[in-house]
Amino acid sequence: MRFDLNDEQRAIKQAVHDLCESHYDLATAHRTADGEHTDKLWPALTASGWAALAVPAEFGGQGLGLLELSLVVEELGYALSPATFFNNAAAGVLIATSGGAEQQRRWLPGIASGEARAAVGIATRDGAPLVLDGEGAALLVMLSPEAVRLVDAADSDQKPVSSLDLTRQMTRVTSARANVLPNDAQPALDRVEVLLAAELLGVAQHAMELAVAYARQRQQFGRPIGAYQAVSHRCADMLLMVESARSAVLSAGWTADHEPERLPFAASVAKAVAADAAWQVATSALQIHGGIGFTWEHPIHLFVRRAAVSSRLLGSVDHHLDRAAHLAGLGAAERQPELVSA
């Protein structure tokens, strides 16, 4: 047993971290929040071939695993990047896992090259499905509790709506025709849950780093506030949550690639822990920043907003805790919680 990244996996993570640092820093994320929507990261990511990472080799991809893909997505979460890459990668995983042969031939090569990228939409309680950063996508993949549907963007219409998460643009989609994925969608959805968990882990990691840096530097009563246990123990709890989320995300990625029969439990553990960590750490980081953390200018609210949305996609924390209880011996719940939020 070796519960640790190998050199190649470390290199993947570092390369994407560096790419984000040079193309999409927090100031850029803030400009996105203020309405300047140009995703400088997506062209850089496709130019370096990252979109092809986990697409099977027969469709023009590199054929690496969900673990490797989750390392990329974690770094994009750390940067609060737009959803373009995440969407395209998630759509690739959904089609590769549960799509039919014709659907795979039709869409996976464009997903791998980034030339015909895909976006993921989520069914909502009422009204048309919502898509994050879906404009410009060639394919829309619509998730609902009943089925996964593929919609050719040419057959659809997207209308911008306001978004709680200011770092991603949201649209409502209406479409004439859809094409259902023929195979059981749950294994594919579980893989996307792992990717969401990885994104949330990155969000939590970065929010913790901001809080700790501020606690070291901000002085009150003649010493850094990080010297007071009311603050330092908050930081220690952040570390506990981030490390737990990291263990759960790594384990779930590895499980998807090597022991898929155990994925339902691993995916729910990862999603529940990472979603909780992202929200708790982001809001705790806001608290540590005091009044400055409540201002528009400070980036911490972007983390809070991102955590508030991503933590509820594909099942809330409560949904995944219930599913873990089910899988650990309590049997199924009477009512299945809805896909977006329980």
Partner: protein
């Protein structure tokens, strides 16, 4: 990354599993003393089979195995519900400190009787005025005719009434608090040592007060240089926990299986609140297990246990406490009678966030040593 056991580890696990199936001694007699002697005999059986010191070097009676194999062995013991060996502190701390910091003579003198449980060990660190602030201990050791004369009081000393040897931290100077402590191995069977049991909130007595009134320690029973006892003690404390995270998580998972059965028996398995609380425990126990394994991989890579063990210690205490609270809620008014194993566990779990370093001290360690936040002190 590879989360499966290697072929060698699998073979080892199957060997242990088969051996435990054939040699499991049952639960043993009730009563503290008969149970202790039962566990001493059980440790003797383990030692005869070569299983008492899995990760100890071969030349000192161990198996020279990896920490991973030690963890596999401990997990199989938990899974088989086998009793724990009697000489817990000797195996976890006394042996490792002698192996890593003792002289060749000390290794030959002390190690074998630890493995066989002929000589039980206890730990004399905490004092009435030195709990979390361990470096402030006041027990004194003075040189008298080439030996050391010990005066002072220790507290929370588990196994003191069974122990032959005590790992003793005592002050040998008046200077800087981290550099005038010395680490001794003190004979408990001598006139200058008296032991008084402390009764716990559960009604049992797992630990004691120990009074040293002119007890004598020959200089050859000193570990490490005079004045360097703090570093010796710190190293021992770090070696206490590697791999223990994964093993305690398995213990918690087995209790969760019991709890699931109790929830189903009481027809509460459709109650959304109970399900959510149970699910939270399941998830936390799983991340604790994974954190334990990840720490073990890190230790095997670097050779040094890191302060990350504090994460698992905090998790263990809070999960175990929440688990007993949920079980007692499920029991309802049956819990008022105080005869259930769960009501015992409810009370016993309160010690988890205190014993082995309080959860507050663990948070200090994470804040200062991992996050590099400034110290208040």
């Amino acid at each position: 990354m590879d989360l499966t056991l290697s072929p060698a580890e699998l073979t080892f696990r199957d060997e242990i599993r088969a051996w435990l199936r054939d040699h499991h001694p049952g639960t043993g007699p009730s009563g503290v003393e008969p149970q202790f002697e039962f566990r001493r005999a059980w440790q003797g059986t383990l030692h005869d089979a070569g299983y008492a010191g899995i990760s100890w070097p071969r030349e000192y009676g161990g198996r020279g195995a990896t920490l991973m194999e030690q963890t596999i062995f401990n997990e199989e013991m938990v899974r088989a519900r086998a009793p724990s060996p009697a000489n817990v502190l000797g195996l976890l701390m006394g042996g490792p400190v002698v192996i890593t910091q003792g002289t060749e003579e000390q290794k030959r003198r002390f190690l074998e009787p630890i493995l066989s449980a002929e000589e039980i060990w206890c730990q004399g660190f905490s004092e009435p005025n030195s709990g979390s602030d361990l470096a402030s201990v006041q027990t004194r050791a003075e040189r008298v005719n080439g030996a050391w004369k010990i005066t002072g009081q220790k507290v929370w000393t588990s196994f003191a009434h069974h122990a032959k040897w005590c790992m003793l931290l005592a002050r040998t100077g008046n200077g800087e608090r981290y550099h005038d402590l010395t680490y001794f191995i003190c004979d408990m069977r001598q006139p200058g040592v008296s032991v008084r049991p402390l009764r716990q909130i559960t009604g049992e007595s797992e630990f004691n007060e120990v009074f040293f009134d002119g007890a004598s320690v020959p200089d050859e029973n000193r570990i490490g240089p005079v004045g360097e006892g703090w570093m010796v003690a710190l190293t021992t404390l770090l070696f206490e926990r590697p791999g223990l995270g994964a093993v305690s998580a398995l213990g918690i998972k087995m209790e969760l299986e019991e709890l699931a059965e109790l929830i189903r028996d009481r027809d509460l398995d459709r109650d959304p609140t109970i399900r959510r609380r149970f699910g939270k425990l399941v998830v936390d126990a799983e991340t604790m297990r994974l954190n334990g394994y990840r720490g073990l991989s890190r230790l095997e890579g670097s050779g040094v246990p890191g302060p990350e063990g504090s994460v698992v210690k905090i998790q263990w205490a809070s999960v175990n406490q929440a688990l007993t609270e949920l079980a007692v809620d499920v029991l309802g008014d049956d819990a008022f009678l105080g005869e259930s194993v769960w009501t015992y566990r409810l009370l016993r779990a309160r010690a988890n966030s205190i014993e082995g370093g309080t959860s507050e001290i663990q948070r200090n360690i994470l804040a200062e040593r991992v996050l590099q936040l400034p110290r208040l002190r």
